[in-house]
Amino acid sequence: MKRQIVSWFTLGVILVGLLAACARPTPETVEVEVPVEVTRVVAGTPETVVITATPEPAAPEPEKPSGKITIWGWTAAIRDTLEATDVFEDFKEAYPDVEVEIVYYSPDDVYTNLPLAITAGEGAPDICYVENSHVAEYVHMGGLLNVTEHLQPYLDNIVEYKLYDCEKDGKYYCVPWDGGPVVMYYRRDVFEAAGLPTDPDEVSETIATWDDYYEACRTIKEQTGSYCFAHNKANNWGRLYEMVLWQQGLGYYDPQTGDVSVDSPENVATLEKLGLFWGEDLVSDSLEWTDPWYEELGSLDQPIATLIEASWMDVFLKSWIAPGTAGKWGVAYMPTFEEDGVRASNDGGSVFVIPEQTQNPEAAWAFLEFAMLKNEEYVLKGLAISGFIPSLKSTYDDALFLSTDSFFGGQNTYQIYADVNGEIPRAGIYGPHYAMMNGAVSVAIQRYATGEATAEVALQAAADEIRANLE
């Protein structure tokens, strides 16, 4: 009898052990607490921060949604920005029956867990924060909630380019947050030492095209010895190339037809133009987001002269990359490839998506509408805190866009970001196959930069690989 009990007990333990082995690990969850500590940007906060938009009182709907919603996102965007705008407290007041749970995942984890949850059919959040570069992939995979009807009243107020990646067959699948308008950050001290103008308007005029940029870089190198910008060869990520393609309305594929255009003459010419800078050693070999790159940006004696990047770089420079260089930077429009080209491009930007699996689509939509669309207050605060440029055109009338920034020598930088944001053309960069295309073209850029192949040969090989991959 005793032996039987022991045997059954052991069997039970084994089975429990098996079940435990099969259990899915739960992510760290953090409940939203009220109130939240806010760490504001240290150096160079805008002189006058006046937010005039008053939040519209949430019109009481006939039936207010209730229940629990989960949001996935990373700390920089959700904890340090969204939470700091107090949107969660205000939302709680407006929708007292909705409980919001926030789960912080790193970007890599979001991009691993979200598609896994979608393909598995369970485990997806009610709202997920993703970047524009990745959203098209999920839209085309399927599994995201169609929000076209909800989005309809706001469509006119959203900058066009934000929605291209969220659209499929005429339906929309996301709510945009911030954009990535590209500008040229430049060091006033280096420009001055090189005999170039330092006033932003003059800089924009003098360096109007990439040929002008080339000349300016040569001057800078001759006069000061500084490199013009950072452009790594062997480990190139292809971001600058993408920005210049986007500006011309080109891309990895034709946005109208979908045909792969990686090896088009225009794409080749663009790469060759960037090659001029490598050829004459005008650019440094630092790889973005590594220590040497940070050092160059923050340096006082051997700085990098310019940086072509999106507006979100603003806060990074101020807060942790180059806080010691306050007052030495300026913001100009990026040079165009051809004369009279559009001086706007995009790099990055983010949106929120609602997976179809959600048990609570009304509550999820209610939150996104409240935070991103109906009320301007929170996206404007997001701009002030973290440099997230809103996608709502109406926000650009706010007094915040009249403020000046001492980090940039007292310049009104937000206005430039807003201008550029409104001009971003349609291009074939992001899309359902962005990661694969970027991977193949990066290799081509690396091969060209290191002299292994000509631009034409390298891009041709990449194009062939992409076409074969897409079959």
Binding site: S7, L11, I14, G17, L18, A21, T112, P115, I118, T119, E137, M141, G142, G143, N232, K233, A234, N235, D285, S286, T290, D291, P292, H433, A435, M436, G439, V443, Q446, R447, T450, E452, D464, E465, R467, A468, N469, E471
Partner: protein, 309 residues
């Protein structure tokens, strides 16, 4: 005396006898069941499902589309170039680090087994320790150390008056960097294999040779290594699979195969095809081609190196 007559049981009887045996030993089966259940679910099922998938086109979410041999044709077409590049990388990496690491592990095992060195257990632990660290953390750390400007290795080289090396910026140096990381991480494992193998070699053999006038080096090459042959083959076969299957090392050290896919291993490539391109069918087909290659390679190694008297 009656002779025992063999009674040939019928098929039905045989099944009954088998079932009787199982029931009699049911607790044994229960106790080994966790392994078999897990193996069936996580080992056998994926292998079989993968065969099924290799004839389909599937993005993991939507419907599956039967495409016959198209995924296998991918290997021989334009798209196969990256696959074959990753195979080539595996071969190159194999020759770059496996002979060195295997030989080093033998030498270390012999030295640390012979109790010549004081604190030999301490050294053994130190050499094995990297094996239990997170390869991801190690990869990131090594990446920082391999940084061309200001990384630890270049600082040391500069201090010694040697030219700095563009470690992760150059196709071949990146491979060398990867080999350094792999040897650091896996030397201990191979040393343990060799240590285990050494336990099967009787001491008297080496002692006799030394008494007869052989030098320790001669004893190593003429006696120890030949007797360690089975273990060496085992370790080399594992290393072969390893050199094609380096995963966390590549993902963390070289951002997944950079520069220009010089350090892209087959396993990383398959992962990319499945989870970046969302082509599970194609990844399955490629995985089976890869399996066939490794299988043949291992067979060749066993035949060629294994059966010498």
């Amino acid at each position: 005396m009656s002779r025992d007559v063999a009674v040939i049981p019928s098929v039905g009887d045989r099944w009954k006898r088998l079932w009787g045996e199982i029931v009699k030993n049911r607790w044994a089966y229960v106790f080994i069941s966790p392994f078999y259940i897990l193996f069936l679910v996580f080992g056998l099922f994926p292998v079989l499902f993968s065969i099924y998938l290799s004839f389909q086109q599937w993005n993991g979410f939507g419907p599956m589309e039967l495409v016959g041999l198209k995924n296998f044709a991918y290997v021989v077409g334009e798209g196969g170039k990256v696959f074959w590049k990753s195979i080539l990388n595996g071969v190159l990496l194999f020759f770059m680090y496996v002979p060195l690491m295997t030989f080093l592990s033998i030498v270390l095992a012999v030295v640390l087994n012979s109790k010549l060195v004081r604190f030999f257990q301490g050294y053994r632990t130190m050499i094995y320790a990297p094996r239990v660290t997170s390869m991801v953390a190690a990869g990131f750390t090594f990446r920082l150390m391999f940084e061309a400007q200001g990384g630890l290795f270049n600082l040391i080289l500069a201090y010694l008056g040697l030219p700095e090396v563009p470690w992760l910026e150059h196709v071949w140096w990146a491979r060398v960097a990867l080999c350094v990381l792999v040897v650091w991480g896996w030397l201990g494992q191979n040393m343990v294999y060799m240590l285990a193998g050494l336990q099967t070699i009787p001491r008297e053999l080496t002692e006799a040779a030394l008494i007869d006038g052989a030098s320790p080096v001669q004893a190593l090459f003429r006696i120890t290594i030949p007797l360690l042959r089975p273990v060496i083959i085992f370790a080399v076969i594992l290393s072969t699979m390893g050199s094609f299957g380096l995963f966390p090392e590549v993902q963390t050290l070289t951002w997944g195969g950079r520069p220009m896919r010089a350090t892209l291993t087959t396993l990383v490539y398959l992962f990319n095809v499945a989870f970046d391109d969302y082509r599970f069918g194609r990844a399955s087909a490629l995985a089976y081609v890869y399996f066939a290659l490794i299988f043949v390679l291992s067979l060749v190694q066993v035949r060629y190196f294994g059966s010498e008297e």
